[in-house]
Amino acid sequence: MNNSSDSSEDKGVVIQVKNTQKETVNDFLKKAMEQGVFDAVLISMKVPAGDSFAYVLLTDKELLKDTFPLPPIMSVQGAKAISSITRRGKGNKKIAAIMRPCEIRATVELTKLGQIDLDNIVLISMDCFGVMPTPSFIKDPEKSLKKFEDAIRIEDDTVMRPVCRICDKSSMVAGDLHIGTRGVQKDAFFIVSNTKKGKDILDKLGLISNKNIDTWLAKVKENAKEKQKKRKQAHKDLQSSIKNLDKFLDTFSHCINCHNCMRACPICCCRVCYFDSDKMKHPSDDYLRIAKSKGSIRFLPDTTIFHIGRMVHMSLSCVSCGSCEDACPMSIPVAQLFSMTADETQGLFDYIAGKSLEEPLPLTTFIKEELSEVEDVHD
C-alpha cells in the first residue's frame, strides 16, 4: 500500500477474456456491482433504433450485457455525461464511468473547471483505437460497425477520424483504473490502477496487481511514438495550408455560425457563451457603419472572432477529442485546427490537458520568472 502511484503502474492485473473482450469487461463491471464496489455504471449503449450509441447511467445489472464499452463513434463526449450527472453535486451513488482516454482527460479538465465532482466517480479508461466520424457512421450504421470492428482487429486507423489517426494519447492513464488491451495476448487484458482509489477497488475485488505489464507499456510507447511523428507532420501540413490570413479565413468560410462545435465541446461549459450573448448583438446602425468602412461585410461578421476567441478560451484544456468536428454540419476541420493550436499553447506551459488533477490550469496560476520572451517584442 505504500507504493507511490508511479510504481503501481509497473504491475497490473491480468484478466482472462471469455468469449469477447466486450463481454469480459461487462462481466468485470457486473461483478463489481454485485460486490457493491459500484452502485451504478456510466457506459455506452446502442440506442433502440441501433443506429447510434448513447451514454447510459445504469443500476440494473441485467442491462450490462447490452453495453458497448468502446463504441465506434463518440456521439456525446463522456465528460459531458459525467458533468451532467455531477454538476449539481455528487449524490450518494458510487459510479463507475467507462470511457476513452480523451473523455477521461476532458473529465479531469472539467473537474478543475468546477463542472464535475469526482468524489463518487471511478474513472475507468480503456486503450482506444479511435472512433469513426459520426456523420459517416450513421449513413449506414450496420456496415460501419462491421468496418469498425474489422479495423480494430487489424489495428487499421484509416477509417477513423483524422484527429484519432494522430492521437498520441490513446492509452494515457488519467483516471483511476485503466484497461490495457494493447500488446497482450488475444485472450487477456490488463487492468492497471493509477490512483489510490483505483487500487482500493482492485483490492476490494480481490485482484492483485502483481503481473508484469511490460508488453503493454512497450506497445503503448511504440504507438505513442509513431503517432507523435504523424501528429507533428499533420500539424505541420495544416500549418502551412493556413499560413496567410486569406487561407486561414478560407478555412472557416463554410462556417454558418451555428456554434455546434462549441456546444459539442466538452470544455466549453459556459451556460451562455460570450459569442451568443448580448455583447455580440449590436445596433443596426453599427453594423451599417462597419459595412460602410469596408464596403461589404459578411453577416454575421462574427465567424473569425468566434473561432479564434474559442481557441483563446479553451485551447489550454483542449483534449483533441474531435467532438467539434463531428458536430460541424459544414465539415470544417475544426478539431484538427484546435488540436494543432492546443499543442502549441499547452506546450508554452509544459501542460498536457487532463493528464493530472493536481496540476493547476495554466491560466489560473503563474510563475513570477517566466515568459519574459513575450515582453516588449517589437519585431
Partner: protein
C-alpha cells in the same frame, strides 16, 4: 395587373444592376444579399454598402447558409436602421422575419424587401462535398420548365409557400422562360410604388403593367411531392417507440434550435439549469427505470421545441441542414407545424397584422376540447 420594371438583362445581371443603381443613387444605403466569398464558391449573406462589391453577389443562389430572417432579426433587434436597406431573400426567410417582428425580435422599418418565387435550395452539405456545381446547371433548366429540381432539400421539395408575402418587389423565377434575357421586377407594395415613381428610376427603367404568372401547376407538383414526403414519415410517427427510434441518435448539440429562426430565446429552457438533473433526480430516475440516458431529456427537448414553435414554423429546413446525424427534423416540424397552424387557419409570416394564434383567442372556439 401589377406594375413591372423591366431590365433587358438576365435576371442575375439585372437584379445586380438594379441593386447597384439603388446604392449609387442613394435610394438605399445598404444591400443585404447572398454573396460569393471566395473562389471556393462559398456563399454567405453580406451587408454591402459600396456598389463595386455587388459584382460578387448571387441574390438567388439556391442555398440557404442561415435563414436570413434570423439574420435580419440580429440586424434590427436593437432598433430599426436609420437608413434604408434593400434586402434580397427567399419567401420562407421573409416569413420567418415577419414572425420574428411579431415576436418583437426585429423591425421592418427602413427595409426594402425584394424576393422571388422560389424554386427551392440545396442541402448545405453539397457545399463541402463539392456536388453543388454539378447540380447548379440543371437547377435553372428545371426552374424554367416549372419542375422541381432533383436533390433539393426535402423541406423545399415539400414547400407550397414559394410565392413571397409582404415583399416590396418580386421577381418571378419559377416557370420564367426568359430568365437569361430579361429581368422583370414586379412592384408589390406602396413602398415599392413610391420608389418606382422616383424620377431616376422612371428615367432608367421602362415600366409596364403585366400579369403575374399563374403557378398553380407548379403548386400541384409541390403538393404531390409534399404528400409523398409526409406519407413516408407518417408511419414512423407511431408514438413513443417511433419517436425514440427517430430521435435516439440525437447528440444533443441543439444546433437545430440555434439555427431555427423562430427559436429566439436568449437562454433556451433546455440549456437552463431548470432542465438539469440534480443528484437526487438522477437517483429517483434510476430507481424507476433502472437506467437513464445521459445527458437526459432528448425527447423532452425535441417535443418541447415542437410545442413551443410549431405554430410559427415556416418550414425553412435549416434545422435539418445543420443536424450532424441527419434526423428528418424539417419534415416532422413541417408536418406537425402545418397541422396546428391549420387549426387556426394561420400561415406564419403571411400577414404582419394577424396575431400569432397563441397570443390571442376567440371566446367561442375549441369548445370540443373540454370533454
Amino acid at each position: 395587373m401589377t406594375k413591372v420594371l423591366t431590365i433587358n438583362q438576365s435576371v442575375e445581371m439585372g437584379i445586380r444592376e438594379f441593386l447597384k443603381f439603388l446604392l449609387d443613387k442613394s435610394k438605399v444605403k445598404g444591400v443585404f444579399t447572398l454573396k460569393k466569398l471566395n473562389k471556393g464558391g462559398d456563399v454567405a449573406y453580406s451587408l454591402i454598402t459600396r456598389s463595386d462589391e455587388l459584382k460578387d453577389t448571387v441574390p438567388f443562389f439556391p442555398l440557404m447558409p442561415i435563414n436570413a430572417g434570423k439574420l435580419l432579426s440580429r440586424f434590427t433587434m436593437n432598433g430599426a436602421t436609420s437608413e434604408p436597406v434593400a434586402v434580397v431573400l427567399k419567401p420562407c426567410e421573409l416569413r420567418a422575419f415577419i414572425e420574428l417582428v411579431k415576436l418583437e425580435q426585429g423591425f421592418l422599418e427602413n427595409i426594402m424587401f425584394i424576393s422571388a418565387t422560389c424554386g427551392g435550395v440545396y442541402p448545405l452539405n453539397m457545399v463541402h462535398d463539392g456536388t453543388i456545381d454539378k447540380n447548379l446547371s440543371q437547377y435553372w433548366t428545371a426552374i424554367k420548365k416549372e419542375e422541381i429540381p432533383p436533390n433539393l432539400r426535402p423541406a423545399c421539395k415539400a414547400c407550397t409557400e414559394f410565392i413571397p408575402y409582404n415583399t416590396d418587389m418580386t421577381i418571378n423565377l419559377v416557370g420564367n422562360k426568359t430568365l437569361d434575357s430579361q429581368c422583370e421586377i414586379f412592384i408589390e407594395s406602396k413602398k415599392g410604388e413610391e420608389l418606382a415613381k422616383d424620377k431616376d428610376i422612371k428615367k432608367k427603367y421602362s415600366e409596364k403593367e403585366s400579369k403575374k404568372k399563374n403557378l398553380d401547376n407548379f403548386r400541384g407538383k409541390r403538393e404531390a411531392e409534399k404528400k409523398k414526403i409526409f406519407d413516408e414519415i407518417t408511419p414512423k410517427l407511431t408514438g413513443m417507440d417511433g419517436l425514440i427510434n427517430i430521435f435516439g441518435k440525437c447528440i444533443g448539440c441543439h444546433g437545430c434550435s440555434k439555427v431555427c429562426p423562430i427559436c429566439y430565446c436568449k437562454l433556451c429552457e433546455f440549456e437552463s439549469s431548470d432542465s438539469e438533473y440534480g443528484p437526487s433526480h438522477y437517483e429517483s430516475e434510476l430507481r424507476r427505470r433502472g437506467a437513464v440516458r445521459v445527458p437526459p431529456n432528448t425527447l423532452y427537448y425535441h417535443l418541447g421545441r415542437l410545442s413551443h414553435i410549431a405554430i410559427s414554423c415556416v418550414g425553412c429546413g435549416s434545422c435539418e441542414d445543420v443536424c450532424p446525424v441527419d434526423i428528418p427534423l424539417s419534415i416532422i416540424f413541417k408536418k406537425i407545424g402545418e397541422s396546428v397552424q391549420h387549426m387556426f387557419e394561420y400561415i406564419p409570416g403571411k400577414s404582419i397584422t394577424e396575431k400569432i394564434p397563441l397570443t390571442t383567442f376567440k371566446e367561442k372556439e375549441l369548445t370540443e376540447i373540454e370533454k
